[in-house]
Subunit: 195 residues, 2 copies
């Protein structure tokens, strides 16, 4: 059941990080289809800690602007959608429903902040990668970014509760004419070994 070469190109081999997008919008139905794919990716104890804000409106983009690193402002303000990939530090409250065959809530509730945050970050980041790949599978292009002030994003978008920003990802239809040459990757023998 492996995928064909064209699919592997779309997902990995020819996919690029985009800074410039065409004016073609991304409609809300596409964002719902995107979540309905990425949600199936595996997380620890099915904890699904990621939370996503899809920033589309001018008003919401302006709330995001002051948090962006200078080099990320123009491209993010111009992108059709900017996804805030975040994680909920109270994810464990959903575990009785998400992982009903064990008392998984007790593995986190009342444990150290570091233990809770570490799971939220690890599984929430996996879900952020599922978002990137699922977006490509739906014909979208991505521009993920780490250059922003996390505290400012959290204050502007998650003022209540325990949701924290992880990374940002612009979404839209990339303009291939404005790509730079691709950076190299490590060879197999630099990054991997078989034992």
């Amino acid at each position: 059941m492996s995928l064909d070469d064209r699919a592997l190109d779309v997902l990995f081999r020819q996919a690029r990080t985009h800074s410039a997008f065409t004016p073609e919008p991304v409609d809300d139905d596409t964002l719902r289809r995107l979540y309905d794919l990425l949600k199936w990716g595996p997380t620890a104890a099915n904890s699904c800690p990621a939370r996503f804000v899809f920033v589309k409106s001018r008003e919401a983009k302006e709330r995001l602007r002051p948090a962006l690193a200078p080099g990320n402002v123009d491209k993010t303000m111009a992108a059709p959608v900017t996804a805030i990939v975040a994680y909920d530090l109270e994810f464990y409250e959903q575990l009785p429903r998400l992982y009903p065959h064990a008392d998984a809530r007790s593995w986190y509730a009342g444990k150290s902040d570091e233990h809770i945050r570490s799971n939220a970050m690890r599984s929430g980041t996996l879900q952020g990668a599922y978002l990137i790949i699922a977006a490509r599978a739906l014909g979208l292009d991505c521009g993920p970014m780490g250059g922003f002030d996390h505290a400012k994003v959290d204050a502007a978008f998650f003022p209540h509760g325990k949701v924290r920003s992880n990374f940002l990802c612009n979404l839209g239809h990339g303009d291939p004419a404005r790509l730079h040459p691709r950076n190299p990757r490590l060879d197999f023998d630099e990054a991997c070994r078989i034992e």
Copy 2:
């Protein structure tokens, strides 16, 4: 350039976490093809901090055994391959080659351990998710796990240098007859909002 329904099923909608695999082996060439897909996924400043050990031999599996949580021993010892997804805390030494158009090494070298570790974990975990999805794209099934003693794995597989384990992922051809019913996921409106 969106993928067809069958591909979306293979990657996300029908893909499952497997504990039981058929005896069909995973050859080394497939592991190389797996890396040659996942390596293209985006990371912060193309830092590519993930390192992968593909544990296949009986000897290497026995070195892994004492680190496994009791519930993960039998399935991991029986799996054709167990990938140790790890990250290199000295990833920044590769940045002059991986990200040549800026002095990205200086963004990490000499900075706080927390700053370095946080990037290694975030981008290294993204790469772990790319491994899961790329494996599915090649027709493999995955069984990712967090239940193990990180210090024991690091001592057994990364005794030198600054590579640290992140999570484990069994790889092979899953036995669909031994799957349990699927756990639920959060609805769109529980995990997402559009602003």
